[in-house]
């Protein structure tokens, strides 16, 4: 009991400390680098969503590292979980008719929404990761409704490798045609706020979305098909 009261007191203490953070005005004390990003980012890169331009171009190498981490996670899951020899799909309970009909209606729309999110990464709060997760959720819904769904793991890893490959090709193109690795100015910047603007950012985000989506589907498929 005493322990719980102490825990409660600690939480209240932290709440009191953290609460003033809500009132901080984010513009009044920024480092010089952040000020530069905010002042020049929109003009230099032509992206309406400043976070996107920082994540994809200024800090593009970090994003490459994050995708590599996700790739290693997928590979680890596939390596650690043993494949099932005899398929025991018939042990699972079949889904109801309503769920499978609803799934076949919803999955195309979910995929379209995922495509919308990752192609509009430079205009809306979405981006490659979020779009990839939405697409993986669509496949998850298919998995939940159809107990005997088979995955083509070879195709998945092929899609994943090709999108990663083209991602790096675009980065290297930036090195030659524009300012540096993963610079988005290899195409014209277009009109600010338009869909075909911000140079290579929509293409990079589409590749990232496909890559993240196929990696997550790989993880889920491995989890389901292993014993």
């Amino acid at each position: 009991m005493v322990k719980r009261i102490i825990i409660l007191l600690v939480i209240v203490f932290f709440a009191i400390i953290i609460f003033p953070l809500l009132k901080v005005d984010p513009t009044d004390s920024l480092s010089s680098l952040a000020t530069k990003y905010i002042r020049d980012g929109a003009d230099e890169l032509g992206s309406a969503n400043l976070v996107t331009s920082i994540v994809v171009t200024y800090r593009g190498l970090d994003t490459l590292g994050e995708v590599a981490v996700l790739f290693i996670a997928t590979a680890g899951v596939g390596f650690l979980l043993r494949k099932k020899k005899n398929s025991s799909a018939n042990k699972r309970r079949k889904s109801s008719e309503i769920l499978s009909s609803g799934t076949s209606f919803l999955v195309p729309i979910i995929f379209l929404f995922g495509v919308y999110i990752f192609t509009h990464g430079h205009l809306t709060p979405g981006g490659g990761f979020q779009g990839g997760v939405v697409i993986a959720s669509g496949v998850l819904l298919l998995m939940l409704s159809d107990v005997s769904l088979k995955f083509n793991h070879f195709l998945l890893s092929a899609i994943e490798s090709f999108s990663g490959f083209f991602y790096i090709i675009i980065g290297i193109l930036g090195l030659f045609l524009a300012g540096g690795f993963l610079d988005n100015r290899i195409f014209s910047l277009g009109t600010f706020g338009n869909i075909f603007s911000a140079g290579a950012i929509p293409i990079i985000y589409s590749l990232l979305g496909i890559k993240v989506g196929s990696e997550l589907v790989g993880i889920l498929g491995n989890l389901r098909d292993s014993e």
Binding site: P26, P125, V133, L223
Partner: protein, 81 residues
């Protein structure tokens, strides 16, 4: 107004966190953890970070729940055999 929402959501998150820790049933704990990330994404939105809010909503409340459920069902199968 925003302050009221922040306080109420924060309190609910604390209660859900206690539930996630102290509950005996693992699936119930997973559901509580899902509630935490659900509300955390509203708080991120209030702090003007829609990018983070979207990521939290997508990954925290959907995908991790499912991965946890898969893990629990694998563990239970092992125990049963």
């Amino acid at each position: 107004m925003i302050t009221i929402i922040v306080i109420v959501l924060g309190l609910i998150m604390i209660i859900a966190a206690f539930l996630a820790i102290y509950q005996k049933n693992l699936v119930a704990a997973v559901i509580s953890a899902g509630v935490i990330s659900l509300l955390a994404s509203i708080l991120y939105l209030l702090l003007a970070a829609p990018d983070v809010a979207m990521t939290e909503a997508a990954i925290g409340s959907g995908l991790t729940t499912v991965v946890f459920l898969y893990a629990i069902s694998k563990i239970k199968k092992k125990d049963g055999e």
